[in-house]
């Protein structure tokens, strides 16, 4: 009895030790791909699936390859550090040296390549305000204009970066330009500015308005984000005079031709860039949209099929 226990103990200990040591054998391209994804409610997932022309899978798990693993942004990142045969996608802002960010259609994932518009796996975050002559009073108009100006400052850019998106180039701070917006000198605590549109931009918009309100007379931001198509509709479109009207709307995609607004009321505040990541040992360096779609739909299940 004693001997058996000793033997078992020795076996377990050896196993434990060797498991801790990790293995050093080389990367095997014939292995199966382990697919990591975000939950269906994730904006990053919507952006990623849209970017690889697999938009239907944004909210439909049953279109994905069998046995996919659902994790959050950090979870995917830390799993890929361990899992040599995994692939996942994260927002560009969280990419680090512990994983390999794959080039998309030959362009390296970097903030510079996002801003110069060569990196493809991204979507624009746009804003639209009411037409200049369509505000109830001048305070609301000037506050909306001041907010748009704030989004383009380095202060606004910091807020956007903190929320994981890539802001456009900016050089002015809010202090440099605030003299142009005298509305911010007065007490605006009685004025409500209504934000709406894309729910993917909700967190960024909330952070921006929370950062800006104290700088601009404590106006009251009201956020009601219902989807990109409501961004234009409720500022300049069919619902602009309805109960749900907004001062500033957002869209996490380019505006359609039917959504062309009055001059100077539309623009971009940031890019949402997503990067496909693999383990550092992985031999793959670059993917195309089609490759990623094949992986996520299950048409390609081993790394061999991608490398050859």
């Amino acid at each position: 009895m004693k001997k058996i226990i000793l033997l078992i103990a020795a076996f377990v200990l050896t196993l434990t030790l060797s498991a801790c040591g990790g293995s050093t054998d080389s990367w095997d391209s014939s292995s199966n791909i382990t697919v990591y994804t975000r939950d269906t409610s994730s904006g990053t997932r919507a952006g990623f699936m849209g970017g690889i022309d697999f938009g239907d899978a944004a909210e439909d798990d049953s279109l994905l390859v069998d046995g996919f693993v659902i994790k959050d942004n950090t979870g995917i990142l830390s799993s890929i550090v361990t899992d040599e045969y995994g692939i996942g996608y994260i927002s560009l802002a969280t990419l680090n040296d512990e994983v390999k960010g794959l080039s998309f259609d030959g362009v390296e994932p970097s903030v510079a390549n996002v801003i110069n518009n060569t990196y493809g796996l991204k979507r624009p975050f746009n804003y639209v305000t009411r037409a200049l002559d369509d505000y109830e009073n001048d305070t609301e108009k000037n506050l909306s204009l001041a907010f748009v100006a704030f989004m383009g400052t380095t202060d606004g850019a910091d807020v956007i970066t903190n929320q994981g998106a890539v802001p456009l180039d900016s050089s002015n701070t809010w202090d440099d330009i605030k003299a142009d917006y005298p509305v911010c000198e007065q007490d605006n605590s009685g004025t409500v500015i209504r934000f709406g549109g894309s729910d993917s931009i909700q967190k960024i918009a909330e952070a921006l308005s929370a950062a800006f309100a104290p700088k601009c007379g404590d106006f009251v931001p009201e956020h009601d984000h219902t989807g990109s198509s409501d961004g234009f509709k409720r500022t300049q479109g069919s619902e602009k005079d309805g109960d749900n009207y907004k001062h500033i709307g957002f869209a996490s995609r380019p505006f359609k031709d039917s959504e062309a607004g009055a001059d100077g009321t539309q623009g971009q505040l940031a890019w949402d860039a997503i990067v496909a990541i693999v383990n550092l040992n992985n031999e793959l360096n670059s993917v195309t949209a089609q490759d990623l779609k094949n992986i996520y739909s299950g048409d390609v299940t081993t790394w061999d099929e991608l490398l050859n």
């Binding site: 269906t40 909210e59 799993s79």
Partner: protein
Amino acid sequence: MATFIKKIQSKLHLYTKNDAIDFFIKSFFLLSTIISASFIIIIIVFVTAEGIIPFVTDNDGVGPVNLWRFLTGTVWLEGTAFVSNLYGVGFIIVNTLYIAFLSLLVALPIGVLTALYIARIAPKKIAEVLRTIIELLASIPSIVYGLFGSGIILTFVYNLAKIFNVQSKGGNSVLATVLVLALMILPTITALSEVAIRSVNKDIVLGSLALGATKTQTNFKVVLTSAKSGIFTAAILGIGRALGEATAVSLVAGNARSGPSIGFFQITSTLTSTMLQGLKETTGIDYDIRFSVGIVLMVVILLTNLTLNFIKKKVGNVDVK
């Protein structure tokens, strides 16, 4: 003031001072009981009210969820979220029970042996230190266990799988979940078993020793059998924690959307991790259905506890102080 008190006294037939004290203490206890009991009822009513919405309403045009399909389904959601009503949790119920019992299987022997050591064998000073450590472990929040799990256990399981020539999914697996849960319920089981073992009647132990049994024989055959009712209680509380744990599990389970997952290196999911996944970012039927999962979870926990309590009664009780 005095007349007011008199009035109350005569109304409530409280004539002496002690009667009054008794009455107030009694009312105070009743009040706290009502408060704590009503919270349970409020929670149950709230969860049930939200949870039956998917089955009884049209869900904004999606159509009601079929209850039988929901309880026996092997895929969490077929079709597009917010458009499809084909939810299923059957496989998740199996996963949850499977994982909870496996972690109990790991944690119970270790916990009981630790408790036996602390209560019967270890010198007083060491026992004191160990008891404090166990209590500390029991109070560590689950997210810390989860972070430990995703940092250490996932890597461990991933490498372990490699030794067996299995390609695990980054370590996210049944095994990782069981290990994290076993770690979490170990202190609960140890602490409660230790109390149970300590309260075994000294006379029984001395009697056993006087009959010539060795210390080891006494510990295993007399002390543990006498404490089995308390140890069973420990197991019941341990499995309750294992069934209800969400945060730590969702970090290491892999959140499988179909199943059930039986193999040790397969990804899995539990009722709680499924509820947690996306809860903060979803609306409509996809939100309400998580409350339905909550109802299922409450029923599962209730049934498990009833079953275990039934077994506990059958197993019986020996003279415990």
